[in-house]
């Protein structure tokens, strides 16, 4: 009887997790698609449905780690699941999160079309007839654009000391002097760039995705270890939901810890890596630095959890 209840609970949790995951992914993807469409319309180009749908895997991929941790936070904050209450359900949810990251990431990566962010695409969005567009370094003005061909393009390079204007009467986007490759600077409409905290988070997500991609290309064990470290860190952060008698504080600390995981990753990749390069000559250790960092951070969170958590306290900070 007890076993069947546990199985039922596990299945129910698994279903809720999948539903939440789909809901959160849909929300992020819908916002992402609206952003893409907004950019296209702002650039006065009418995007085709196939072009818009082709962006979908990239959008899902960009936000996959954030989708996963948001879904876990939403699920575990309300369900009250923790290892002490139902170890089986907890292990299944953790395994499900691990599987999602392990299998979905390469699938989505493979589904992103080649050259999806090609220079031509960025340039064509920079050419908006009758309006100035800027990529940060240059400004572009064009009279008209039709099927990749333009009439009267003026490229302005303010940092040039002489002849800042370059006028091209007619041609194709391939003739346009522009950014060397895709990047944030190429965003045509500043209105679409998230600011402050959100921009930092975007950058950190990008770094995490690149690391996942690197690990998946390097070796299968390294990739699996990295995925495990990420999911383990998420779960350790969410454990803080049971830390004290004050649920709001628990929620805040849990949220802060999740935020710190992304920040820690940036710290390890951008700051510590360059500092440690001179000290650590072994490339394998350097490559494993993010995994080590995540595991140490997760260990510290668990230690904190064990130090402060009275054994009988319920999940969600219930009364002691």
């Amino acid at each position: 009887m007890l076993e069947s209840f546990a199985v039922k609970e596990i299945l129910r949790l698994l279903l809720i997790f999948v539903a939440v995951l789909i809901l959160v992914s849909t929300l992020f993807a819908a916002l992402g698609l609206l952003g893409v469409l907004g950019r296209e319309y702002a650039a006065k180009s009418v995007p085709s449905l196939s072009m818009v749908l082709a962006r979908l895997p990239a959008l899902l991929l960009d936000k996959l780690p954030l989708t996963l941790c948001t879904s876990l936070l939403l699920l575990l904050a309300r369900s009250g699941l923790h290892p002490g209450r139902s170890l089986g359900a907890f292990v299944v949810v953790t395994a499900a999160a691990f599987s999602v990251l392990t299998f979905l990431f390469p699938l989505l990566e493979a589904a992103v079309p080649e050259g999806e962010q090609s220079r031509e695409r960025i340039l064509s969005s920079l050419l908006s007839p009758g309006y100035w567009r800027s990529d940060g370094e240059r400004a572009y003005y064009v009279e008209s654009v039709e099927e990749g061909r333009f009439r009267s393009l003026l490229v302005v390079t303010p940092d040039e000391s002489r002849a800042r204007f370059r006028y091209i009467p007619a041609g194709s986007t391939a003739d346009v002097p522009g950014p060397a490759g895709p990047g944030r600077a190429a965003e045509p409409a500043a209105a679409f760039t998230p600011e402050g905290f959100a921009a930092q988070l975007d950058h950190e997500l990008d770094l995490l995705n690149r690391e996942l991609s690197r690990a998946s290309r390097a070796s299968r064990p390294r990739y699996l270890l990295f995925c495990f470290a990420v999911v383990f860190a998420f779960m350790a952060a969410i454990f803080l939901m049971r830390l004290s008698r004050w649920p709001l504080l628990n929620l805040f600390l849990s949220f802060l810890a999740l935020r710190c995981i992304f920040y820690l990753f940036r710290l390890l990749r951008e700051v510590a890596a360059s500092e440690l390069e001179s000290l650590i000559s072994n490339q394998d250790v350097m490559a494993a630095l993010p995994v080590i960092g995540l595991l140490v951070f997760s260990g510290l969170l668990l230690l904190l959890h064990l130090l402060f958590l009275p054994v009988r306290r319920g999940f969600g900070g219930g009364t002691a």
Partner: protein, 577 residues
């Protein structure tokens, strides 16, 4: 619970708001620009910067305060109150949040843009003051005392109580007096001629004729005739005066006086008869060096200088603005009557006592799909008001040396023959700008001035900026953003009340260590606020791009209505037991 609770909510908000204002004051004090600002601007800069950061952070601060207060300090202890629905218990709190939202609207829409403008002005003025001080010290070391005193004065106008710089200025001034070069005397220069009616010019001409001042009589008669060509009396008087000038002979047999008279006559003829103001200017400028007290020389030098300055600028004035901080990277489509496109770029625009100067000017003209037949660059230019009473101004692109007729600065033509263009009347180194002086300073790449404009200025500029090649959508986005924030303040505060109540501490005592984390709550909420605003902005930008501003505004209002309804429903659904 109502009264006690309200006070607790208000106290939590006040403490958190004051704490963050203090933090932003400290941050602004230690952040890089404040330390290098000149003393009179430093504290107002720190204060303004702290205020800007504080207003920008008010949503997460207020939402955190609501969350903390309802989670930690508000309790329903009595049995009777437990029977009451939650919304009835917090009804007065809703009034508080509505009043706070109105205050926030005033701060966000009224105070914030002007504070941003003020911050930029203070930074700019301080930068300019430092520039003038460095230049003054360099000029002082190079023994150019007149330039040093002028630049010290410019610095002291911004920092009048700086005794060290005042001392340096006095030293330079005494050295200037000792050198005997006081920068040129203005004695003998007549007051500028005020515009009068033709009959008044003629009356003046007749007075001068009767006083046997035939140069002045001729000058005023010609002016009267130019104003009213039908006046035969003016023409006749001018002819009589010119005959007298022609017949005049110096009373003394003095070669110098004869030479002066001949040269004055030559200069006068150039100015009035040949209408060659440039030739007249150099003639009278030379004469003024030898005869500074001669009233005719002073008057016609002034008159010719004014005419020269309507078509050119003096190089010494333009060279003095090199490196002076100003409005940079101005780029716009200069609207023309014909079907040609004209694009103008200005690297820097500087306001000085002598006028508005520009550096790094580049102009190109082309026809859609065709080649360009005019592309030029000019090191300097000077902006003058339009002579034809239309809105806009003119950039004069010919620079002259004040004393040396052989030294000139004209634009470099990458495309187009300047002589041919001048002969055909298409371009004579005068660039008419079809936008107001105010718009010119705003048309900078990336619209950096937009965030310091008020809502009504943004609203008006949104339509006009399309003419100059800037999409109105960017400014429309800024307008929507300004409207979105006050709504978000209220809605996020209401959601925070529900969240705080849901995750309340209950009957048990909260951990003491937890209080340490209270000041950090706004940091977490700031990220959620950014995501909440970012998601709405994405939707609004999409509607703006596809359906236009009116639809985006309607969607914004509907969206806020729905979110407010949801926030109130969630609030009403809270349990008190």
């Amino acid at each position: 619970m109502n009264n006690i609770g309200l006070r607790r909510v208000f106290n939590t908000l006040s403490v958190l708001a004051l704490l963050y204002f203090g933090f932003f004051m400290v941050y602004s004090y230690f952040s890089p620009p404040a330390a290098r600002l000149i003393a009179p601007l430093r504290w107002s800069y720190i204060w303004t910067k702290a205020l800007i950061l504080w207003v920008e952070a008010l949503i997460p601060i207020s939402a955190s305060a609501a969350m903390i207060a309802y989670s930690l300090f508000i309790r329903v202890e009595s049995g009777a109150l437990r029977e009451e629905p939650f919304h009835a218990l917090v009804s007065s709190h809703l009034v508080l949040f509505t009043v706070l939202a109105l205050l926030f609207t005033g701060l966000y829409m009224g105070v914030l843009p002007s504070a941003r403008g003020g911050l930029e002005r203070r930074e700019f003025e301080s930068e300019r003051a430092e520039f003038f001080l460095e230049r003054a010290q360099a000029a002082h070391q190079a023994h150019d005392y007149a330039a040093a005193v002028a630049d010290f004065d410019r610095y002291l106008a911004r920092d009048p109580h700086n005794e060290a710089v005042g001392g340096q200025r006095e030293e330079a001034h005494s050295q200037l007096l000792g050198s005997g070069n006081d920068g040129g005397s203005e004695a003998g220069v007549p007051e500028p001629v005020q515009p009068l009616a033709a009959s008044e010019y003629l009356a003046r001409a007749q007075d001068f004729y009767s006083q046997e001042d035939y140069f002045s009589a001729h000058y005023y008669a010609v002016l009267a005739n130019r104003l009213d060509s039908s006046r035969q009396d003016a023409r006749r008087l001018a002819a009589r005066a010119w005959e007298k000038i022609a017949s005049l002979q110096p009373s003394r047999d003095d070669e110098e006086v004869r030479a002066l008279f001949r040269t004055k006559k030559e200069g006068y003829a150039a100015l009035v008869r040949e209408q060659d103001s440039l030739k007249a200017y150099y003639i009278f400028n030379n004469l003024a060096k030898s005869y500074p007290q001669d009233p005719d020389v002073a008057r016609y030098l002034e008159e010719s200088r004014k005419q020269v300055e309507a078509i050119s600028y003096f190089l010494d004035e333009a060279e003095a603005v090199e490196g002076v901080p100003g409005s940079g990277r101005i780029l716009f489509v200069n609207v023309r009557q014909d079907n040609r496109r004209e694009i103008v770029y200005i690297d820097n625009l500087v306001e000085t006592e002598q006028g508005t100067f520009v550096t790094g000017v580049e102009v190109i003209q082309f026809e859609a799909g065709g080649g360009s037949d005019l592309h030029l660059a000019s090191v300097y230019g000077k902006i003058l008001p339009r002579q034809d009473e239309q809105e806009g101004s003119t950039i004069v692109l010919t620079g002259l040396d004040r004393n040396d007729p052989g030294r000139r600065q004209t634009p470099s033509y990458f495309t187009g023959d300047p002589r041919r263009l001048a002969a055909s009347g298409r371009f004579e180194n005068l660039l008419p700008l079809n936008l107001s002086r105010e718009d010119l300073a705003v048309m900078r790449l990336g619209f950096p001035a937009a965030e310091s404009l008020g809502l009504s200025a943004l609203w008006q500029l949104r339509r006009r900026c399309e003419r100059y090649g800037y999409p109105g959508a960017e400014l429309a986005g800024e307008i929507l953003d300004r409207i979105l924030h006050p709504f978000s303040f209220l809605i996020l505060c209401l959601f925070s009340v529900s969240l705080g109540w849901t995750f309340r501490v209950g009957a048990s005592r909260p951990p003491r260590l937890g209080y340490v984390f209270l000041p950090f709550f706004p940091l977490g909420v700031a990220l959620l606020t950014a995501l909440y605003l970012g998601a709405q902005k994405t939707i609004l930008d999409f509607v703006l791009g596809t359906l236009g501003f009116a639809s985006a505004l309607a969607v914004l209002l509907i969206m806020q209505g729905v979110l407010l309804f949801v926030a109130l429903t969630v609030l009403a659904g809270q349990r008190t037991d």
